[in-house]
């Protein structure tokens, strides 16, 4: 009998399996129940196929989405177009990720009371986005494809996260007929968060950061450029010879030969470590939107490939949002606020969510950040008068990324070195041609828009 009764432990194992599973489920319940309950079509939170979420407002109080209104979206067609990728379209080709992530906060769901205490009317979600700035960015892009982003590197608020091209969700194009000229190519993609681009020369900032971290004395060196640099039989070229130049001049000249030398001196490991440090491979979860990771892969790179990688070509890819955060880190002494879109949620007059600022890890040291800031400021003063806003220190770097046979991708990234307007930004225009001439006017218009909005607050 003894050995038989000992084997009844089988029942114990089964019972423990059951209890353990239930415990796991209860934990999952507390983690995910708000997602389960607000899933599309849930009769608990939808009436006649529409989510009873209430309203979504931009930072100035403009209504971007309302479940009360028959048409749901904003009154102005410009606002509807400018915020399309944030609010989603009706057909579900562009998902309303923010709405989905915060639905439970809007109708007052909580895991204790379930939907029993839920409000029928829904609540109010306030975004850090400015519809006005989005519209300015959209108009400045003028139908060209690309992305524009601006955020406050101290608090994390994203003021502008535009993806272009766009359309009016109340008048969607029929892609089978309306896209003969390719103007709607990739229109469903939220380029600012989900695309990744060859960065071109804006990547020189990352290379420079690595070099300065390695050797701060580099700032005092000079570099010579004959217009061509031969590496193992392969040529690195500049449009014209820059001659002898200081480090800061090499950045202003965006001198490929100088940066090739700096890259080769650093070597693969240091560059890879820096790419990791600035979060290039990272993906941010921004209020329900998961950003695409960048790429910086040197595993098969020869010497000349390495040199091209250091100047933002080769197989380099960066995500606009992520690179904007790196700009913020340079501006902010090495670390930046992690960006967010949703400022607060209210339900039945009660606050159910409020954004809080969290900070990235250290991307560059304080010293390096200061050196980069200074060189980027000089760069704007020397090269980009088009973006120089009076009384505000704009710091920036442009890029013209070569993408196969197509016309170059224009990139432009930087920040305002300002306590009143601590903003980092990035502009990417596909087939945009030269970086500074295409992007600088867009950046200027958008930044001025942001300053206006902030002044009004």
């Amino acid at each position: 009998m003894k050995s038989i009764s000992r084997r009844t432990v089988f029942s114990l194992v089964l019972a423990c399996f059951l209890l353990f599973g239930v415990l796991t489920f209860v934990i999952r319940y507390f983690l995910y129940a708000d997602r389960w309950v607000s899933f599309t079509g849930s009769p608990h939170v939808y009436t006649n196929g529409k989510l009873n979420t209430g309203e979504i407002l931009d930072r100035s109080g403009t209504v971007l989405y309302s479940s009360e209104k028959a048409k749901n979206y904003a009154d102005s067609a410009t606002t509807r177009k400018a915020t399309l990728h944030l609010m989603g379209d009706r057909a579900g080709n562009i998902p309303a990720r923010i709405l989905r992530a915060y639905a439970s906060k809007l109708f007052g769901y909580d895991t204790i009371n379930g939907t029993a205490a839920m409000e029928a009317s829904g609540g109010e979600l306030r975004l850090s986005i400015s519809a006005q700035v989005q519209a300015i960015a959209m108009q400045a892009m003028n139908g060209r494809k690309g992305a524009v982003g601006v955020y406050n590197y101290r608090t994390g608020e994203i003021l502008c996260a535009l993806s272009s091209p766009t359309f009016d969700p109340l008048d969607p194009p029929d892609l089978e007929q309306d896209n003969d000229d390719g103007r709607y190519d990739g229109v469903y993609v939220y380029r600012f968060f989900h695309a990744s681009y060859t960065p071109g020369s804006i990547f020189k900032l990352a290379t420079l950061a690595a070099a300065l971290e390695e050797d701060p004395e580099l700032a005092n060196e000079t570099f010579s450029c004959k217009g061509v640099l031969n590496i193992n039989g392969e040529e690195i070229t500049c449009p014209n010879p820059h001659g002898r130049q200081s480090l800061s001049e090499a950045l202003s000249n965006s001198c490929n030969c100088a940066f090739a030398q700096i890259t080769l001196r650093l070597g693969k490991q240091k560059l890879l470590a820096q790419a990791d440090a600035i979060g290039l491979y990272r993906s941010y979860d921004i209020d329900g939107i998961t950003t695409t990771r960048g790429q910086f892969d040197l595993s098969d790179a020869e010497e000349n490939d390495l040199a091209w990688a250091g100047i933002g070509q080769y197989t380099d890819l960066v995500n606009p949002c992520q690179y904007m955060v790196f700009m913020g880190a340079i501006a902010n002494g090495g670390k930046a606020a992690v960006p967010w879109l949703v400022s607060s949620a209210h339900c039945a007059g009660r606050e159910t969510y409020r954004a809080s600022t969290s900070t990235t890890s250290e991307m560059v040291s304080r010293q390096t950040a200061a050196a980069l800031r200074e060189m980027m400021r000089l760069n704007v003063q020397r090269m980009y008068s088009a973006v120089d806003i009076p009384d505000v220190n704009v710091c920036a770097k442009s890029g013209t990324a070569e993408v196969g046979e197509e016309e170059n991708t224009a990139t432009f990234a930087g920040f305002l070195d300002s306590d009143a307007y601590p903003l980092a930004f990035i502009v990417v225009v596909e087939h945009g041609g030269a970086g500074s001439s295409t992007c600088a006017p867009i950046a200027r218009a958008v930044l001025e828009g942001c300053i206006n909005v902030m002044d009004g607050e």
Partner: protein
């Protein structure tokens, strides 16, 4: 704090009415908790006091207590009576107490002989005062005097002492009244049906309780837990389709009759042993009937319709299967009949595969494992492992074939683990609705009859396969967790009481019954929440279904038979006197 206020908030804010209704919402889980804690304390907190049925006096004068009806005598440490002498084999003999209180000894193939009063026996009776010799080691069987027995019985803790089962049942009654009332309000159109159904439920449970009192049995915790689960089940039934309440109650009545009959049979383990063959035969007949008459519902051909009634033979076969699988100690150690049982299991498994009922096949497989594990306690374990692996392989193979040939099975398996990618098709519709509704219910539920799962009752299986979600939505996650705790508690009780079990027959029966009940709960709950593929298995006592209700009561009889607490169970004879009769 705000969440607490929310709890008391109604459509017009925090008013007297909303506070009153919320208090009601809170009182159901509280009452359930009281009922379960009280039951747990008496089921799991009892002292495991061995019963002494006889003594063995060694030549040295040492007295060894005989504490079971079946006792393994041998040299190994796990023997019930350890005889640490080199001449004695590890497993030498089994000393068995028969129905009439007489004793029998069986040689189980040790090296040395077994002799009674100097005559070698392979299997023979032993009278009190006779000398048993195991390979020359002599001992005398001595009776327990009436006085000793009485003292022993009186000193043992009575079941329910300190935790009066009557009071627990009172609490359950209050719980049931609240449930009934809420249902009457929320299902006004079926008012009379619900009132009648709950009145019948209360009547039946109190008659059962008082009846057992009259038989001087004081343990009612197992029944209380069953009735607790049934109350939830009836609540779901009333919410989903009140017209089916009577059907459930009839099934409950038949189930209780089965429970009582089986329990009384199990009091004599020799009688029970004779039942085994009949049970095995009935099992085969039921399945053959199923194969011939079976009709398909939801893809599985496991239903029989007779005169307007439908039932699932496989549910009732569970009881036959366990009975057929039980065995007494002398059989276990002499390795008889396990092969026959393996073949029997293979037959059942084969039938289920043909009938395309994989949930049931998995249940029988676990039941088989429980039985085989216990029966092979003195076996080389590789035989068991081999058989287990072989059967599992067959099952998996059959499942793979089914996935290939039956689209509904394939859907269930292919959706498993990522149901959120298939919220609108067969692969994930049921599970995503379930999770959604569980979330909507919160901890305290939306109120009986006020959930959404009711729209998925019947063909959508929300009141059967997805009943966990149904309960969580309307009664709250707390109640869902408690119904699982209730079942797990039964499992722990079986393990605890097996230590003082009288016969291996009871231990095997209870352990296998519990394994089947637990695995049903596992498949049901975890299938609903997408931890396992959804197999369409019922949750014991809660899921709507007559056959399932009957079979659960039948399985409870095995649990009842292993409850050897003093005067606890009608399925165990009273032992106030020298041994025998009531």
């Amino acid at each position: 704090m705000e969440q607490i206020l929310d709890f008391f908030r109604g459509p017009d804010g925090v008013t007297f009415l909303s506070v009153y209704q919320s208090a009601l919402r809170l009182s159901l889980p509280l009452l359930a908790l009281f009922v379960l804690v009280r039951s747990a304390r008496s089921l799991l907190g009892f002292r495991r006091e061995p019963e002494v049925w006889a003594w063995l006096r060694l030549a040295t004068g040492e007295l060894l207590p005989v504490t079971h009806w079946e006792n393994l005598l041998g040299r190994k440490k796990s023997a019930d009576i350890v005889l640490d002498f080199v001449t004695v084999s590890k497993n030498h003999a089994v000393l068995t107490r028969l129905n009439d209180g007489s004793w029998m000894i069986t040689d189980i193939g040790g090296k040395g002989k077994v002799e009674v009063n100097g005559n070698q026996v392979l299997s023979g009776t032993v009278d009190y005062g006779e000398t048993i010799s195991l390979a020359g080691l002599e001992m005398v069987l001595e009776p327990v005097s009436r006085e000793e027995a009485r003292l022993q019985a009186n000193s043992r803790t009575k079941a329910g002492k300190g935790n009066s089962p009557g009071l627990t049942l009172m609490l359950l009654t209050v719980f049931q009244l609240l449930v009934g009332l809420e249902l009457v309000f929320n299902r006004a159109e079926a008012r009379m049906t619900i009132l009648t159904a709950f009145a019948i439920l209360l009547g039946v449970e109190w008659i059962l309780f008082i009846g057992q009192k009259l038989l001087k049995r004081s343990g009612f915790e197992l029944e209380t837990i069953a009735f607790f689960l049934i109350t939830i089940g009836l609540g779901v039934c009333a919410s989903a389709n009140a017209a089916e309440l009577y059907k459930q109650l009839i099934a409950m009545g038949v189930g209780i009759a089965l429970f009582l009959a089986l329990g009384f049979c199990l009091r004599d383990f020799k009688t029970a042993q004779k039942l085994r063959y009949a049970a095995a035969a009935v099992g085969i007949l039921l399945f053959l009937a199923n194969l011939v008459l079976g009709r398909s519902i939801n893809g599985s051909r496991n239903w029989i319709f007779i005169g307007g009634f439908s039932f699932q033979p496989s549910e009732l076969v569970k009881i036959c299967f366990i009975l057929a699988g039980t065995a007494t100690m002398d059989r276990i150690v002499t390795r008889r009949n396990l092969l026959a049982f393996v073949l029997y299991t293979a037959f059942i498994g084969g039938c289920l595969v043909v009938l395309n009922d994989f949930g049931a096949a998995a249940i029988f497989f676990v039941g088989f494992l429980a039985i085989a594990l216990l029966r092979s306690s003195s076996y080389p374990s590789w035989i068991l492992v081999l058989v287990g692996v072989g059967m599992l392989a067959v099952l998996v193979l059959a499942a793979m074939l089914a996935v290939k040939h039956f689209p509904h099975v394939a859907d269930r398996f292919s959706g498993y683990g990522h149901v959120w990618e298939h919220p609108f098709d067969n692969k994930g519709y049921q599970q995503t609705r379930s999770l959604m509704c569980i979330a909507a219910g919160g901890l305290f539920g939306l109120g009986l009859g006020k959930g959404w799962m009711q729209y998925m009752a019947g063909a959508g299986a929300s009141d059967t396969d997805l009943v966990f979600a149904y309960v969580c939505e309307e009664w709250g996650l707390l109640m869902g967790v408690m119904m699982i705790f209730a079942l797990a508690m039964l499992g722990l009780f079986v393990v605890r009481s097996s230590k003082v079990a009288r016969s291996s027959l009871y231990t095997i029966g209870a352990s296998a019954a519990m394994a089947i009940l637990t695995v049903q709960a596992i498949l049901n709950v975890f299938g609903t929440v997408d931890f396992l593929p959804l197999t369409g298995v019922t949750f014991p006592f809660v899921s709507n279904g007559g056959s399932s209700m009957m079979s659960c009561w039948g399985l409870m009889a095995f649990l009842k038979a292993c409850d050897t607490r003093q005067n606890a169970s009608f399925a165990v004879k009273l032992s106030t006197q020298g041994g025998e009769r009531l």
